[in-house]
């Protein structure tokens, strides 16, 4: 009898895990979708202020960050392929490069944010209520959107770090890599959202 009442047999279904991740990515897109909606409403209401606001951001730093994220998306995809081909060492190196790119992104974000803080352009600052309304909303949106995105970068970094150690101790291998695949999917999502944020905040003037 005791044999029959053991655990539920370990049920492994990689298809299900991937489907679940895709559904979760849907919800993340909708989360940002709400913000894009708010952005478009206020952009339509205050086009001139949004124009001025975007001039105060550095397109160079934004572009460097975009390249860093696009490059990291490539390296994580390569890490997955390396894992499928059972090249453990290469996979670990590529995950490490991805994490490095993420750190570069966050470092640049830190530089950008602290410059804005120095100028008093942050929600709740004494200066903000004296700005034009559209200007104020632009910077509120800027901090809210990039802040939420940076939070996602950090979550993605945690996921990929877990993957890194699981690859190292053999938890992820060439026959079982769905966790790395899902981590990579999440990382692509983080990248994709930035691909929308960059033009909305920096390029459209």
């Amino acid at each position: 009898m005791s044999e029959n009442v053991k655990h539920i047999e370990v049920h492994r279904d990689d298809e299900a895990a991937k489907l679940g991740m895709w559904l979760f990515i849907f919800t993340e897109l909708l989360l940002f979708g709400g913000l894009f909606l708010v952005y478009s409403v206020f952009r339509a209401k205050y086009p001139a202020n949004f124009h001025e606001g975007s001039l105060e951001l550095s397109v160079t730093i934004g572009a460097i960050n975009t390249i860093a994220l696009l490059f990291s998306s490539m390296t994580i995809a390569m890490a997955l392929t390396a894992m499928q081909k059972n090249n453990k060492k290469l996979a670990m190196q590529l995950i490490a490069i991805t994490l490095l790119m993420a750190t570069v992104f966050l470092f640049n974000k830190y530089i950008e944010w602290s410059a804005k803080f120095e100028h008093g352009l942050y929600p709740g600052s004494p200066l903000m209520p004296h700005l034009d309304r559209g200007h104020l909303l632009y910077f509120s949106l800027y901090f809210f959107m990039t802040g939420l995105h940076a939070l996602h970068i950090i979550v993605g970094m945690v996921l990929l770090s877990v993957c890194f150690f699981r690859v190292r101790n053999g938890g992820i291998h060439s026959k079982k890599y769905v966790q790395l695949e899902n981590g990579a999917l999440y990382w692509h999502l983080v990248d994709l959202i930035w691909i929308f944020l960059f033009p909305l905040l920096y390029l459209i003037t």
Binding site: N4, V5, I8, H11, L23, F26, T27, L30, P123
Partner: protein, 535 residues
């Protein structure tokens, strides 16, 4: 395998796993035990919310201050709304009966992600604790109403941040549950169980899960914006900073209208299970009912504007939202017609689950048709924000989802616990509930039409008759509910041993022993082409 099973059968309730006692519940991965834990949590919260409702009714028994201060009243209706909506009816049927029966109905051993399921439960409990703590924290319970309308919610001194954060956490749990159920239905169906062999409750859960998944993130981001608004003054919803309070209403209702379908769709599914069983007849229009669930979920996304006819919208937007609101009534009506057609010439057995289903159809029809009154722009302007809306909403959600819930627990309790409750007492409790419910809420239609606003602490003396009838109905209803719960608890603990299939049901859950074993199906289930093949 079959030999050992004959020697000893262990149900999921008696099974000893690696954890003992209470930890075998806290750490359980079994969808049935998680379903039961949700049941206990939600029953407790339901009674907390119901007592709050009763206190409000007592306050309204006479004009002026009766038993509490106005600010207490504001806190009560807000927390009553938050508890009942975010913790009782939105999860309600889908986390309890969806968890317990969805895998069984599709011939699966568990949900697709058992660990995620356990995580959603504990996130849910965290959200509940956060929300209830707002009652006791220093600044007092939120007084914004459950809808947290800006700009008041951005300025009031009460615990709005904690309450909205609780709603955010509960939403996260809801998303994870929905995600789990979608993947379960896609990946875990038993071999031979095609989509159109699934019982209709699974279809309803499927439609609900998609709505949970796609709508909830919007309220999530909205509540985050509200929290940021309060903490940092980001100004999105504050006109003084250039923001737009109507934008908050849009974002809020983009979620909260589909949320009404998250509440009611599983209820429609339950009724579609109960009616064929107690008529011993094949359900009429299986595909029409299945597709109407999907249609309600789909169109339900596009009607949120009917909550805002008086908030400032263009005329085009108003007639368009009104038209869509009328459209969403069509699939609901299709279901009602199909249920009635199923009963026609069936061998009807008036057992308590079926009585609750009948009460559901009656109350849901009243709630639905008064919803059309609210959906047409002209009458909406007249009755907007009056007691009429309160009555309509409670007819749909309490009369609809609530009575379907009671029907479901009476229908499935013998399967969940392997014991039967007292039929006679259950029938008496049903009668009391039905009478009490109508006494409680019907007068509010009339009061609303005469102009009594909702959420008001006081009223003019000429409205007292209606208010008194309503309060009396409240006491009758709570008495009926207490009788019902006592009967169910006694039945579950000491009732007669129930046979595996007490109602001669034909869906899969009735083909396995009561209570089910850990893996539900010790032998591979036989999948029928039509889940309701009675004749």
């Amino acid at each position: 395998m079959t030999e050992t099973k004959k020697i000893e059968y262990v149900s999921y309730l008696d099974r000893q796993g690696e954890y003992k006692g209470i930890f075998s519940w806290i750490f359980t991965l079994d969808h049935k035990r998680i379903g039961l834990m949700y049941l206990y949590a939600i029953m407790v919260l339901f009674f907390v919310g119901a007592i709050m409702g009763l206190l409000m009714r007592v306050e309204l028994i006479a004009p002026g201050e009766t038993i509490m201060k106005a600010q207490t009243y504001n806190g009560l209706f807000t927390v009553h709304g938050i508890i009942m909506i975010f913790m009782v009816v939105i999860p309600g049927l889908s986390v309890i009966f969806g968890n317990f029966f969805l895998p069984i109905l599709i011939g699966a051993k568990d949900v697709a992600f058992p660990k995620l399921n356990r995580l959603s439960f504990w996130i849910y409990i965290t959200g509940c604790i956060l929300a209830i703590s707002t009652q006791f924290l220093k600044k007092g319970p939120p007084d914004t109403g459950w809808s947290f309308y800006a700009p008041y919610s951005t300025t009031t001194g009460t615990n709005v941040i904690m309450a909205t954060f609780a709603a955010f956490v509960l939403g996260f749990s809801s998303i994870l549950t929905g995600l789990n159920f979608i993947v379960t239905i896609h990946q875990m169906r038993a071999p031979g169980m095609k989509f159109f062999n699934m019982p209709l409750f699974s279809w309803a859960i499927y439609a609900t899960a998609w709505t949970q998944l796609l709508a909830t993130p919007i309220i999530g981001i909205t509540l985050l914006m509200l929290i940021a608004e309060r903490l940092f003054g980001i100004g999105f919803f504050n006109p003084a900073l250039g923001g737009d309070p109507v934008l908050f209403q849009h974002l809020f209702w983009i979620y909260s209208h589909p949320a009404v379908y998250i509440m009611i769709l599983p209820a429609l599914g339950v009724i579609s299970e109960i009616i064929p069983t107690f008529c011993q007849k094949k359900i009429y229009g299986y595909k029409a009912i299945a597709f109407s669930s999907i249609a309600i979920a789909g169109v339900g996304f596009l009607v949120w504007g009917h909550h805002m006819f008086t908030s400032g919208m263009s005329d085009q937007a108003r007639w368009f939202f009104s038209l869509l609101t009328f459209l969403v009534a069509v699939p609901s009506a299709i279901k009602v017609f199909n249920w009635l057609a199923t009963m026609y010439k069936g061998s009807i057995d008036l057992k308590p689950p079926f009585l609750y289903a009948l009460a559901f159809i009656f109350l849901f029809t009243i709630g639905g048709t008064t919803g059309l009154l609210l959906g047409s722009v002209a009458t909406n302007v007249q009755v907007h924000d009056t007691a009429f809306v309160v009555a309509h909403f409670h007819y749909i959600i309490f009369g609809g989802m609530g009575f379907a819930f009671f029907g479901a627990i009476h229908y499935w309790l013998p399967k969940m616990y392997g014991r039967m409750y007292n039929m006679k007492r259950a029938t008496i409790a049903w009668g009391i509930n039905f009478v009490g419910f109508n006494l409680l809420y019907f007068p509010q239609f009339i009061l609303g039409f005469e102009g009594v606003p909702r959420r008001y602490y006081d009223y003019l003396p000429q409205f007292q008759t209606g208010q008194v009838i309503s309060t009396i109905g409240g006491f009758i209803l709570i008495a009926g509910l207490i009788l019902m719960v006592i009967n169910l608890v006694q039945g579950a603990r000491h009732g007669e041993i129930a046979p595996a299939n007490p109602w001669q049901g034909s869906t899969l859950e009735w083909q396995i022993p009561s209570p089910p074993s850990l893996e539900n199906f010790d032998e591979a289930p036989v999948i029928k082409k039509n889940p309701y093949d009675y004749k």
